[in-house]
């Protein structure tokens, strides 16, 4: 008895020291870096906020497009991505993506629990802003990327399966790809691949996972239904466009000319793509639809992402135009031809638009290597191949652990009631 008491006392005495060590872990380390620039820091923190807003924006974009019995499930999945990925990023995700390189493939775990990631700048990534601000900015990308995949499996996946998949995918797919492309020592970065704000890391990555999801889950039960609330989808698309300024212009990591370039190219590409998609819609479907316009605008935003800081406004116009045409073809004809049920066109817009943007960066970037196009094609193929194969394996694994798809009965009732026991709209006021 006395011994147990003694042990407890020992543990209690040691606890404050342990707690203090954990609490100061994030502040006790300072990589050599320049002085903090308040303008850069203000812009990056603002951008991080803008990028975070994209995820609720995406939630309303997707939420408006599903049937009304499934809107809460989509909103919940997007918000859960914010919670879940944040925790994973803190535990190990950031360290795996940006921590000290292991074999050009992955970061090591020395920055786990944000150990050594403090208010001092890290010169390797962003010399004029606190390392924590850079980490926070990157976190918002890690959140929205798995959330984009929701568009492919909406209306038929178990919430538990979504959570397990998102957690595993963030650690095993997002973090490595982010390291390859953006991490110091990453092999695609060393190869000279250009990805300004995540064409490969975010859009190709999520888009290929979306294709894997659509193929593995199979089609939804019943007849396809039109969007239940387009105004919500338009609100969401507007929030995405707004947040994308943080996504792309923030990726300059400074309040400078590159940020201004990215801001303008982002806006132009989106505007052109929204316009061109509307025209295509008008011509092919006889009416310019709101759904077509916002889909086009998002496709333009996706495609300009890898190129945003590297191209001229004219280059942005070409990328926007191309993205509208190519994504329109993929959504209208390719999807119909092959018959996969990519619920909300996550692959058709993010995968295809990301691939187009990444390759277009190769011939439109103002200052790239002579063989930049070839580098971009290689980097695109590697990212797309890895994302697809790894996602297939993860989906199969999750299917074995918790089961991926809800029962047909649950799918007919809707995910809001069956997964969350809630309903978005009541019949009596």
């Amino acid at each position: 008895m006395n011994m147990i008491k003694r042990r407890i006392n020992q543990a209690l005495r040691a606890a404050p020291a342990l707690l203090a060590a954990l609490l100061t872990a994030g502040t006790g380390y300072a990589a050599e870096g320049g002085a903090i620039d308040s303008g850069d820091t203000a812009w990056l923190l603002s951008s991080a906020g803008l990028v975070l807003l994209m995820t609720p924006g995406l939630a309303f974009f997707y939420g408006g497009l599903v049937r009304k019995k499934n809107i809460l499930s989509v909103l919940m999945q997007c918000f859960m991505a914010m919670c879940l990925v944040t925790v994973i990023w803190f535990f190990c995700g950031y360290s795996l993506a940006f921590g000290p390189d292991v074999g050009h493939f992955i970061g090591n775990l020395s920055w786990a629990f944000l150990n050594g990631v403090g208010p001092e700048p890290n010169a390797d990534y962003a010399a004029t802003v606190p390392h924590l601000a850079f980490m926070a900015f990157q976190l918002k990308f890690a959140i929205i990327t798995p959330a984009l995949i929701i568009g492919a499996f909406a209306e038929r996946i178990k919430f538990s399966a979504f959570c397990v998949f998102t957690a595993l995918w963030t650690i095993l797919v997002y973090s490595p790809v982010a390291h390859w492309v953006w991490g110091i020592g990453g092999f695609l970065r060393d190869m000279g691949a250009m990805d300004f704000a995540g064409g490969a890391v975010v859009h190709i990555n999520a888009g290929m996972a979306a294709l894997a999801a659509a193929l593995i889950l199979g089609k939804r039960v019943g007849k396809s239904a039109p969007p239940h609330n387009l105004p919500l989808a338009i609100l969401g698309a507007g929030m995405l466009w707004f947040g994308w300024f943080g996504f792309n212009a923030g990726s300059a990591l400074a309040a400078n000319g590159v940020a201004a370039t990215a801001f303008v190219t982002t806006h132009i590409a989106s505007a052109v793509a929204g316009l061109v998609w509307s025209l295509l819609d008008w011509w092919y479907h006889k009416k310019p639809t709101t759904l077509g316009m916002i889909t086009g605008a998002v496709a333009g935003l996706v495609a300009i992402t890898p190129a945003a800081g590297f191209v001229t406004p004219t280059g942005a116009m070409i990328i926007g135009l191309g993205s509208a045409v190519i994504c329109f073809i993929s959504v209208t004809f390719v999807k119909a031809k092959f018959g996969y049920d990519d619920t909300l066109d996550a692959f058709g817009v993010h995968g295809v638009g990301g691939i187009w943007g990444s390759i277009a960066t190769g011939f439109l970037a103002v200052s790239g290597a002579n063989n930049q196009l070839w580098i971009q094609i290689k980097a695109t193929a590697i990212t797309a191949g890895f994302a697809f194969v790894a996602s297939v394996i993860l989906f199969k694994l999750v299917d074995m652990i918790v089961g991926l798809r809800v029962s047909e009965h649950e799918e007919r009732i809707g995910l809001d009631l069956t997964q969350h026991r809630e309903t978005a709209y009541t019949l009596l006021d």
Partner: protein, 113 residues
């Protein structure tokens, strides 16, 4: 002429419509409704969250048919709508006095068909 009103589970609507179509019954009016039956709105699994006054979501079908289609219609609704659990709903059959097609002014059998 008969007027058939059926109250069914929301998740069975697709199946019921498919069965009706199979039996060549195309005329149907569908509404979202709330209601309760013998179980006083207490539902087993997933059927509904607690709504105002414990009313559950249901779908109401209204179908006007000529006599020779009554049995087929009832069979289609039962075949598509039955899960075997409490709350599968009810079918009511009413005499239908008259039916008039707005466009042509036709009445009776011709107007329903």
């Amino acid at each position: 002429m008969k007027y058939i009103i059926a109250v069914i589970q929301p998740d069975r609507i697709d199946a019921v419509l498919d069965m009706l179509e199979e039996k060549e019954i195309h005329l149907v009016t569908v509404s979202n409704v709330l209601g309760r039956g013998r179980q006083k709105g207490i539902s087993s699994v997933y059927r509904s969250v607690k709504e105002a006054g414990n009313l559950l979501r249901k779908i109401k079908l209204e179908i006007a048919v000529n006599e020779d289609f009554v049995d087929k219609t009832v069979a289609a609704i039962i075949e598509g709508g039955r899960t075997g659990e409490v709350g599968d709903g009810k079918i009511f059959i009413l005499d239908l006095e008259e039916c008039i097609r707005v466009r042509t002014g036709e009445t009776g059998r011709a107007a329903i068909g």
